[in-house]
Amino acid sequence: MTHPLARAVVEQGIERGFDLLYTQDAKLDYAFYVPLHFVMPEPARPIVPLHVNVYLPPQPTPARCHAWGAALGEILRARPERVALIASGGMSHFPGTDRYASPEFDYDRALLDLLRDGRGRDLARVTGEELDKRGNIELRTWITLLGAVGDVRADVYCYEPSWHHGNAVVEWPLETA
């Protein structure tokens, strides 16, 4: 919470009706440092880590994630800083269950087609039950980002299935002011 942008996100988010919490001491695990390892420029830029509860019921609904993302996008667009919004989360993935070795690759591929078409807002209507069933509960971070980027068509750089996981790299190219 040292950067002015972090405080603006929390304060303005609450003003917009999202009861956000902040913490001064949460440790950042691999969901943060793996993507940052690949995309952080030199010299390093400040980061504002945002957590979305994807694993511990009751999680936020996809509709709520999308609505929060839309508000977040408005908050960020009104800021003077140039901001990159990054969402990190597994695609089809069932850690700790019998489904671990049988991800739903077809669901992931259909999802990426939808993002290519700029139909990310359709994901706001997916239920939490469906995400759990399809191994895509971590998609809540993507759905949050989709609320911020709107109907921009995604550039899907790759999709690589592994024996327990679908991995994709996707960018939403936005016009800069």
Binding site: K27, Y55, P58, G96, D132, G135, H164
Partner: protein, 92 residues
Amino acid sequence: MSEGAHYRFPPSEAYPLNRCLYALKSDPAFIERFLADPVAATLEMGLTEGERADLRRMDRDALVARGAHPYLVFMAGLRLKIAAEPGTLEYF
């Protein structure tokens, strides 16, 4: 979320068990204490005898049936495996 979901609401009775699994996932000092003396480390966390026995065997299904979160069981098992066999990270 339905009872058939992969990730369910954890019962309050399983709070010590889930705190212990979280510590195994995220607290290197606790992992060291656990590896050195699992009985003392799990007693310190307030686990029952049955929970301690299932944890010693890393019996996923039994732990989940007790209310452990599957993701925490998975990550705790993974961190213990890495501690026991450095270099296994690439496989998971």
